[in-house]
């Protein structure tokens, strides 16, 4: 029953908008069997060159997948765009400018497109492990002449970063670095390549990513094959991300997490999306065979377990944003224990008068992100759901406060909220919760943005 349903469903898919790619339903099913959870038809052997190190991912396969992603790229990718936008947006919050920046593989195309002069970047080095991807980036360069960037291109491996020490001011990695076998090692190399007070910005996929597909795969495999094999790569957990930054030696580490739900017409479309991002499975110990039955059962299980009422299929992507600075004497340091003159209780009381500020403050206490080094402290509005349909961001400065930070220093911090301007819900939400003053601030800023 489930299989026949999936067959029909695969057939529809093939005769629909992808009919150019796969002329017959049979071809589509074959392609799906091949693609599901990233089992590629070309499999490379494990090499013995670096056998002493722990190898989880097949980097050569990943390279081929990125080649393929370069050929498939081109369509609109809202998920990647919003992650890249969220990442480069952080540059705007920094006082510093970054003249030389390195953009590591992953969604580097989106980073280059969305950077729009932020962070004062003059020289941008684009690096990817796939030559085809770098060529693609180079060939589409003329579309971004207005950026006034000097863009350089190179093929390189994040695990073996070929960059001289102390030569960069910024390293950006958007959805790529989680495929390295030695993530701390790769991050240490990034830190070494940075100049003192240089910034490391990275977005990686977290452990909650594609949990629906993980479940569907497991159930389908149990049902059809009587056992399971790893179809999906292990990913970093949120709690590990902070440790990673500290272990790599970054100062002022900051980690925050966002969850995106992307809705697809079918499970096949999800796989297609993963392929265009080059995010398909590259486990070294993966099973090289995926039966067509299992693949179809997975699609069917996915649909029956998770499909929404309108027939769309949701997929969760958890993105972990990491921020770290290379050490520099100008950076704030923790004062010795017991040297503070104001207690956190007093500050808490200072905020208690207004519930909204109080809530902001509680968030602010838990994140050390960007404190003192930024013009604004932006906190996502707790009542607004974030999803990938967001169009435009808008920042509101609410109040400047003088506060003793976690390091025991007195500092002025502008408290603001990052809002997404597209829906009426936001406005309604604001009108419900906040005072007139805050709303005025919101509209003033909105008008400014428009003019």
């Amino acid at each position: 029953m489930a299989v026949s349903a999936a067959r029909v469903f695969a057939g529809e898919w093939a005769t629909g908008k992808y009919s150019r790619l796969f002329p017959s339903p049979a071809a589509a099913i074959a392609a799906f069997s091949c693609a599901i959870a990233g089992l590629a038809s070309f499999c490379t052997e494990a090499d013995g060159v670096l056998s002493s190190r722990v190898k989880i991912f097949d980097r050569d396969l990943k390279r081929k997948q990125r080649d393929r992603a370069a050929w498939l790229m081109g369509g609109k990718n809202d998920f990647v765009d919003s992650v890249a936008e969220n990442l480069v947006d952080r540059l705007e919050d920094c006082k510093k400018t970054f003249s030389t920046a390195l953009c590591l593989g992953g969604s580097s195309e989106a980073i280059r497109r969305l950077i729009r002069g932020r962070g004062g970047i003059e020289k941008l080095i684009m690096m990817d492990m796939s030559l085809d991807m770098v060529k693609h980036l180079k060939n589409t360069e003329q579309n971004y002449v207005s950026n006034n960037l000097e863009t350089l291109y190179m093929v390189g491996d994040e695990e073996f970063l070929p960059i001289k020490e102390n030569s960069l001011e910024l390293v950006v990695s958007c959805l790529g670095i989680h495929w390295t076998n030695d993530l701390p090692g790769a991050m240490i190399q990034c830190r070494l390549a940075l100049k003192p007070d240089g910034l490391f910005l990275a977005a990686i996929l977290g452990g909650e990513t594609l949990k629906e597909l993980r479940m569907a795969c497991t159930i389908a495999q149990l049902e059809r094959e009587g056992g399971i094999s790893p179809r999906m790569s292990p990913l970093a957990q949120v709690r590990d991300a902070g440790n990673l930054l500290t272990r790599a030696g970054f100062a002022l580490p900051g980690v925050d997490v966002d969850e995106y739900t992307v809705r697809y017409d079918s499970a096949l479309e999800l796989i297609e999306h993963l392929r265009t991002m080059g995010e398909t499975n590259a486990l070294l110990q993966r099973s090289n065979i995926l039966k067509r039955d299992t693949a179809l059962a997975t699609a069917a299980v996915y649909e029956s377990m998770f499909a929404a009422e309108d027939g769309k299929i949701p997929a969760t992507f958890q993105v972990i944003y990491m921020t770290g600075w290379k050490e520099h004497p100008s950076q704030q340091k923790a004062k010795s224990r017991g040297s503070a003159t104001i207690s956190f209780e007093d500050i808490q009381n200072h905020f208690r008068s207004n519930e909204f500020y109080y809530r902001l403050f509680l968030r602010f206490r838990t994140t050390k992100l960007f404190m003192l080094r930024t013009k604004y402290l932006f906190i996502k509005h707790p009542n607004i759901l974030h999803n990938t349909t967001q169009k435009q961001k808008c920042k509101i400065k609410l109040k400047t406060i003088s506060i003793q930070n976690a390091y025991g220093e007195q500092c002025d911090v502008n408290i603001g909220v990052t809002l997404f301007t597209y829906t009426k819900n936001v406005l309604q939400d604001l009108s419900k919760k906040h005072t007139k003053e805050e709303k005025d601030g919101y509209f003033c800023n909105k008008m400014k943005k428009r003019s």
């Binding site: 291109y153 093929v155 390189g156 491996d157 001289k164």
Partner: protein
């Protein structure tokens, strides 16, 4: 014909390499690289490996590197290579 295409390559590679060469090092030894026009490659003298430059894009993935034979290394070192040395 061959000479013409090579000249084109040289012009291409030279233009891009100059800006990049200042910050590139060997991915394995982190030692300076030297651009060899003869073979259109970046050579890491420290470990005797050459990395190809394709259409002006240096390919510095360790897997792309080729171990230079003793004789070839000698000629390239004495040959018409523009040596780039960094501290």
């Amino acid at each position: 014909m061959v000479r013409g295409s090579r000249a084109l390559h040289l012009k291409d590679a030279g233009a891009i390499s100059k800006a990049l060469l200042d910050i590139l090092v060997c991915p394995l030894s982190k030692q300076p690289l030297r651009f060899c026009q003869e073979t259109q490659s970046l050579i890491s003298d420290a470990i005797g490996v050459s990395f190809p430059v394709v259409d002006g894009i240096p390919c510095l993935v360790p897997r792309d590197g080729k171990i230079i034979e003793g004789k070839e290394k000698m000629t390239s070192a004495n040959g018409p290579c523009s040596a780039h040395h960094h501290c």
